[in-house]
């Protein structure tokens, strides 16, 4: 795809530890088009957050080994010198985190923190920066922004802090926003407010968003395309409606079967996935999901590539014949 704004190619992140090498991200490929919202879903330890931290080059661990390419408008971020990368971070790609309390420093006012970021990227006077911060706070729905600008993070509620984080992320008009579990720490009614805000901002600014979440409802609400991660790589990718209505990978079947659905009649039992995710110290040979997969067969000892098997825009990493998948899926979800 030539028009990809961001393209991640075969990204791997490993950590050397006392017990051996942990392969946290293991060959991740993903692309993001201009104005698109891509959701990355997966459980703890699947590599969602680490991969995006690697994209932002925020992994400072000297024992980390990062390989692969991250192309932003064709420019490889992995090869950029630190000072240029600093302009990309916050300027072109901004990130918001799950826990806004730890992402904001408690010792400065929120106004000071947002202004600092603004002035790092743009030549603004203190006064101009402050005026812009007040505008931004109003934009994300903080009432009385002229007064709130001088408040400290602890004076805001969880939902309001997340709004502050969003204001900070948007301050330099980034072309890409990476949102890592932006609503996970919030109650549902506050989550609904933040989701509406993000939708409006995406409409108004046309930002491209990578949304990391474990919540299938949140990803359904915001994303157009969905990538499902398991044990460090993408196992399935496609449009939101394709992935949720016609999932191809047995892991996705299990994941969707595990969720109690509010709108459906109650089922007697949830279709839980047996076992636990593999240790990333010694991942299983072949398909990473093989040991937990009820449909594995001899080919699964060879690791399947993420490739189009059903149609051109539907990727999956599973050896099962696409023709027999629907009947297997029926059995595993029923």
């Amino acid at each position: 795809m030539p028009d990809a704004l961001l393209e991640v190619r075969d990204l791997s992140v490993s950590f050397r530890t006392e017990n051996g090498v942990v392969r946290a991200v293991d060959g991740l490929s993903l692309s993001l088009a201009l104005g698109e919202v891509v959701g990355i879903v997966g459980e703890s330890g699947s590599g969602k957050t680490v991969s995006m931290m690697a994209v932002m080059r925020l992994i400072r661990d000297p024992n980390a080994v990062i390989e692969g390419e991250v192309l932003l408008r064709g420019r490889d971020l992995m090869r950029l010198p630190q000072n240029e990368m600093r302009l990309v971070r916050g300027g072109e790609i901004a990130m918001i985190f799950q826990d806004p309390m730890t992402a904001l420093t408690p010792v400065y006012t929120v106004g000071w923190q947002i202004a600092e970021q603004l002035r790092a990227h743009e030549a603004l006077s203190r006064k101009q920066a402050r005026a812009r911060v007040v505008e931004l706070l109003a934009e994300v729905g903080i009432s009385n922004p002229g007064r709130r600008v001088d408040d400290y993070p602890h004076q805001f509620s969880g939902g309001m802090r997340q709004r502050v984080m969003i204001a900070m992320a948007l301050s330099c008009n980034p072309s890409i926003l990476i949102a890592d579990e932006p609503t996970t720490a919030l109650d549902v009614t506050i989550q609904a407010q933040i989701l509406e805000l993000m939708k409006r901002l995406q409409r108004d600014y046309g930002s491209s968003i990578i949304l990391i979440t474990h919540d299938m409802g949140v990803v359904s609400d915001l994303a157009e395309r969905v990538a499902v991660m398991y044990a460090g790589s993408v196992v399935e990718e496609g449009s939101k409606s394709a992935v949720f209505r016609d999932p191809q990978h047995p892991y996705t079947w299990g994941l969707l079967g595990s969720i109690p659905r509010v709108g459906r009649p109650r089922v007697r039992r949830l279709a839980a996935i047996p076992g636990t995710p593999p240790s990333l110290l010694s991942p299983p040979e072949g398909c990473r999901f093989g040991p937990r997969c009820p449909h594995r067969f001899d080919r699964c000892s060879i690791r399947p590539e993420l490739a189009p098997r059903v149609s051109a825009d539907r990727l999956d990493a599973c050896h099962l014949d696409p023709a027999i998948r629907p009947s297997l899926r029926q059995r595993s979800v029923a």
């Binding site: 459980e43 703890s44 509620s157 939902g159 109650d187 549902v188 009614t189 506050i190 989550q191 609904a192 407010q193 989701l195 509406e196 474990h214 919540d215 299938m216 409802g217 949140v218 359904s220 609400d221 939101k240 409606s241 992935v243 949720f244 209505r245 299990g254 994941l255 969707l256 079967g257 595990s258 969720i259 109690p260 659905r261 509010v262 709108g263 459906r264 009649p265 109650r266 089922v267 039992r269 949830l270 279709a271 839980a272 996935i273 047996p274 636990t276």
Partner: protein
């Protein structure tokens, strides 16, 4: 008429705020019944008092006023010694499987502790029972000598379940038992709790903020807001046709999964946030955020009214539930 296991009447719990005259109205007049063998779900957002209520029900908190009856006996006034036989019948499972297990004790000791405290079994019998319990919750009996840190989150929650089951209780109050777990592991633990309920005729009070989970496990659900129950009734009707505007807003706030077209409702985005429980609003506690509020809601606190079919709601302007 099935047997009543637990009856709470006008339960109130106020916590004093340090160095001030303020009090937090955590639970402010809750009455509810739990029938033997059922699962009663309690839902609500952070700070609505659902955990405090759970602890009041098993008397891990002393109520400021009100009573709790367990099989007809008032347990609110009992001394520690008098309470002891009741403790065996009422157990609790906690949210955080990392904080609720002593990291210095081996799993065998953790699960054996209830037997030691209540002196109900010999040493040999305890050992045998612990192995049985581990097997019942899906752990290997060989794990008795391991420490909690050697287990994953889901396995730790199974240890907590084994400990709760040790003295064959009648009632288990589970406070967010699966919210720290990933969905695939969460489903395993929910299925386990479900099987145990059938095998041991357990009664559950299941506290959670995840509406999908609560709907799945509960026969009846109580919805809490700012220390009071605003609606209570059988799960399916409550989810399909909520009576209280807060229940409606709460349900509409859940983003539906793409393929669940039936779950799609118009999202009611509530303005503002939950008011402080130190100074709850007069009248109906939900009125400052309620789209249907009128003058009466500002002055008069609505009481739980019978809407038929076991459904109760505390609202001056109940939504039409007859659409069923």
């Amino acid at each position: 008429m099935s047997e009543m296991l637990l009856e709470a009447r006008d339960l109130v719990k106020h916590f004093p705020v340090r160095r001030s005259k303020d009090v937090v109205h955590a639970v402010d007049g809750v009455s509810l019944d739990v029938q033997r063998g059922e699962t009663l779900g309690i839902v609500g957002e952070s700070g609505c008092g659902k955990s405090t209520l759970g602890r009041l029900l098993v008397r891990l908190h002393e109520p400021t006023s009100g009573t709790v009856r367990f099989r007809g006996d008032d347990i609110t006034k009992l001394s520690r010694r008098e309470l002891r036989p009741f403790r065996r019948e009422m157990q609790m499972i906690f949210q955080d499987p990392y904080a609720s297990l002593n990291p210095r004790k081996r799993v065998g000791q953790i699960v054996a502790d209830p037997f030691h405290i209540h002196r109900t079994a010999s040493r040999e019998e305890t050992r045998r029972r612990v192995q049985d319990l581990l097997e019942v919750v899906g752990l290997s009996p060989d794990h008795v000598n391991r420490y909690p840190h050697e287990f994953s989150g889901g396995q730790r929650q199974r240890i907590g379940v084994a400990r709760a089951l040790a003295l064959s209780p009648q009632l288990i109050v589970a406070d967010e038992p699966v919210s720290a777990l990933d969905v695939s592991i969460q489903a395993q633990v929910i299925n386990l709790l479900d099987d145990l309920q059938d095998d041991f005729q357990l009664t559950y009070v299941f506290i959670a903020h995840d509406l999908g989970v609560v709907h799945h496990v509960s026969d009846r659900i109580a919805v809490m807001y700012l220390g009071v129950v605003v609606e209570i009734g059988p799960s399916d009707p409550l989810f399909l046709h909520p009576i209280h505007p807060y229940t409606e807003a709460l349900l509409s706030a859940i983003p539906p999964i793409e393929a669940d077209d039936e779950a799609r409702r118009e999202r009611i985005v509530l303005e503002g946030e939950v008011p402080s429980p130190i100074d709850p609003p007069p009248g109906c506690r939900f009125h400052p955020r309620c789209p249907y509020a009128t003058e009466i809601c500002r002055v008069e606190q609505p009481l739980l009214a019978d809407h038929g079919g076991g459904r109760f709601a505390a609202c001056h302007h109940p939504l039409d539930a007859k659409g069923a």
